[in-house]
């Protein structure tokens, strides 16, 4: 076994001490891993509508609640060919970290009402922005009860999510046939 560098004889070797660098790097890695979990908790994997000549604008960072309406679970590769032919039934609604089924609409209404009333302006009008993110293959009959629940919570306006121009699964396929 070679002797430790501390007890080596002769002139000292010149070198960088990278130990603090490694310490800090590991701290950063852990920090980003934790943060990325928080970010992915908000959105659900789905294929949102892809529009002809979309007039959508970019998603700005605003005070908003994202309402995700998830389809039945799917395999991304399996759904690539014809994503619209997937089941139109809703699996769950996810707001923040909470999940709601079709039978939990009343609970969803009361919680959304609570949030919307806490963000009213001077005239008592709700200032809450609701972003509705629903899968393109869902039936309107699956989405409409959720929209109705949002209305019942006193919110009259939502932002519908779709792909930006030149984005979306079909357009990517066309680019790489």
């Amino acid at each position: 076994m070679p002797p430790s560098k501390v007890y080596q004889r002769g002139p000292a070797q010149l070198g960088f001490n990278v130990t603090p660098l490694i310490d800090v790097t590991f701290l950063l890695i852990i920090f980003f891993m934790v943060i990325s979990n928080f970010i992915t908790q908000e959105s659900v994997n789905m294929i949102v509508p892809e529009l002809d000549e979309p007039t959508v604008r970019r998603f700005e960072r605003m005070d908003r609640v994202v309402v995700n309406i998830a389809p039945l679970e799917y395999d991304t590769i399996e759904r690539d060919d014809d994503h619209l032919s997937w089941s139109g039934q809703l699996q769950y609604v996810k707001i923040g970290a909470k999940y709601y089924g079709m039978d939990d609409m009343n609970q969803m209404i009361s919680e959304l009402t609570e949030v919307s009333t806490s963000t009213t302006d001077a005239r008592g009008k709700p200032q809450l922005e609701v972003v509705l993110r629903a899968d393109s293959a869902l039936y309107y009959s699956s989405v409409q009860p959720v929209m109705q629940a949002i209305t019942a919570a006193g919110i009259g306006k939502v932002h519908l999510v779709s792909y930006l121009p030149q984005q979306g699964p079909t357009r990517s396929n066309r680019r790489n046939p």
């Binding site: 790097t25 932002h159 930006l164």
Partner: protein, 167 residues
């Protein structure tokens, strides 16, 4: 035989420091380790999903407490019915035409024709841009077609668009 001798007498190219002085070198191994870890981490966590944007819409009326402006008696109603498992059929309520719109581009063109907006040079239609437009989808129509119909109305510069309950 000659080759074997060459190998036996091979001397490394790198010269040893003759005077016994230690060589100065950076130990980069740890940094490379960490860099690779970081690269792998970012490759794994990066999402390659396409960008998403938003369209602002009004919600269906009927129940609830949301206060929306009262609609005039004759709104422009776009009917989106389902056809087959993923198809759709478009029509405008109380508007009889031999050539109903076959896709959303044609729906947009029809909505432009039906609009009266002097500033835009649209003088043949009867519906002003702030007149109400109601999207009336059937229950089995896919959400993609509903949003596409909504998008066509926004593109045609209608400002007061709402959704009806499932037909």
């Amino acid at each position: 035989m000659d080759d074997a001798n060459k190998t036996a007498n091979h001397r490394p190219r790198r010269k040893r420091s003759g005077n016994g002085q230690p060589r100065m070198a950076l130990n980069l191994t740890a940094m490379i380790d960490v860099t690779f870890l970081l690269v792998i981490y970012f490759v794994v966590t990066a999402s390659f999903s396409p960008g998403e944007g938003i369209l602002t819409a009004k919600l269906p009326q009927g129940t609830g407490t949301a206060v929306l402006p009262k609609l005039p008696t004759k709104p422009l109603s776009i009917i989106v019915s389902d056809m087959g498992p993923t198809g759709y059929r478009l029509s405008i309520e109380d508007f009889v035409t031999e050539n109903p719109p076959r896709d959303f581009r044609e729906l947009y063109e029809l909505l432009v024709r039906l609009q009266y907006d002097k500033a835009q040079g649209r003088t043949f239609g009867t519906h002003k841009p702030d007149d109400p437009v109601i999207i009336k989808p059937s229950g089995q129509v896919r959400w993609q077609h509903v949003v596409n119909a909504f998008n066509a109305a926004v593109r045609a510069r209608y400002e007061n668009i709402a959704f009806a309950q499932a037909q």
